[in-house]
Symmetry: C2
Subunit: 210 residues, 2 copies
Amino acid sequence: MANQKISTAVIRRLPRYYRYLHTLIDEGVERISSAELSRRMHVTASQIRQDLNHFGGFGQQGYGYNVRYLRQEIGKVLGVDHEHSMAVIGVGNLGKALVRSQDFRKKGFFVTALFDSDPAVIGRKFCGCTVQDTSNLINYLKEYPVDIGVLTVPRKNAEKLAAQLVEAGVKTIWNFAHCELELPADVVVENVYLVDSLMRLSYKDSHRTK
Amino acid sequence: MANQKISTAVIRRLPRYYRYLHTLIDEGVERISSAELSRRMHVTASQIRQDLNHFGGFGQQGYGYNVRYLRQEIGKVLGVDHEHSMAVIGVGNLGKALVRSQDFRKKGFFVTALFDSDPAVIGRKFCGCTVQDTSNLINYLKEYPVDIGVLTVPRKNAEKLAAQLVEAGVKTIWNFAHCELELPADVVVENVYLVDSLMRLSYKDSHRTK
DNA sequence: TAGATTGTTAATCGATTAACAATC
DNA sequence: TAGATTGTTAATCGATTAACAATC
């Protein structure tokens, strides 16, 4: 259960376990050994046991892992055992897509505030949430705080709006703008660089192992 | 210039170099040493030189790297020195966002076909492209092939439509559906699991180093 | 209790960093 | 030529895999 610096490689794998355990529950599987999970997920049993043991002894010798319990515990580790509120900054195509998606809501992530600077969008309603002018961002979020700020704005505005989020007290940012934000050390950021992803696909495409 | 299995860690970093070199060009920087780039990008100079040398000697002793030339060469490695056509399967919020985005077009990725199964969407036009019924997918793409298939459909339809893409001859898939596609070995896939990304952010949020 | 399987330590493998000879 | 900086080999570090004692 120790808190001694867990590598990002391990963290990257956690959501996949979480997801896979869900499909096991759907299949009605009650318990599973690391060996069986290894076969199904195409990772080594050693890695599974090592990964899980960073966070606690979730299994039982001679029995394996209880699927529901294990998923619940990984959920706790990932912090998806409770709800999160989000403010979406930039209600363009991508912003709208995120607001409307059921996927995040199902996992407990709810959009509670929308901001945009385009007068054509301000005042419009999406999923029960009215788009506000970004000039209200700091004041509004100071009064009605959110857990997560979602940046879906053009690159050139991203840095400024990120700073405003931080000023409003938001310390957790999901950034879709294609730039690297420079923020105080206590702010955590997860970047989604779709162009990078597409380029990696392009790389795989051109360097296909025949 | 060898083709001897380059690790994914290296590939993951390439788009970032590519991006950063662009900002250097914008700043009017003509040449740069690995030491200077190291300082600016917060990676070791050793790593930069190692990474680049997987693909060729792009630098010059005593001089450093020519910024334009280096960017161009990394572009070639990533396969963004030529255009790519894409078919988007699933014209929901996310699909629309991808079609309308300038970011991909600017990098040479053009959407040339749209498919959906919803009658309310079929026939509508986005960015000059008319949405076709997915039942036409195989026939159309056999006649008018694309380089990349983009899957922005609900999880439950993803596997079936991926198989149809493959049948139509598409061997490169950008998958946004939250599932792991099982496809022939010669098909390359890049997954974008937004829910996973959000969970990693949630993890960072709850395990913040105070 | 015996068998199974974890938790955990030890061995291996790969990736990152350091060092330096080659060379522009 | 001398100085600078790469390309590349060698050393270190960290992550993955293997092994096995602990234990349910």
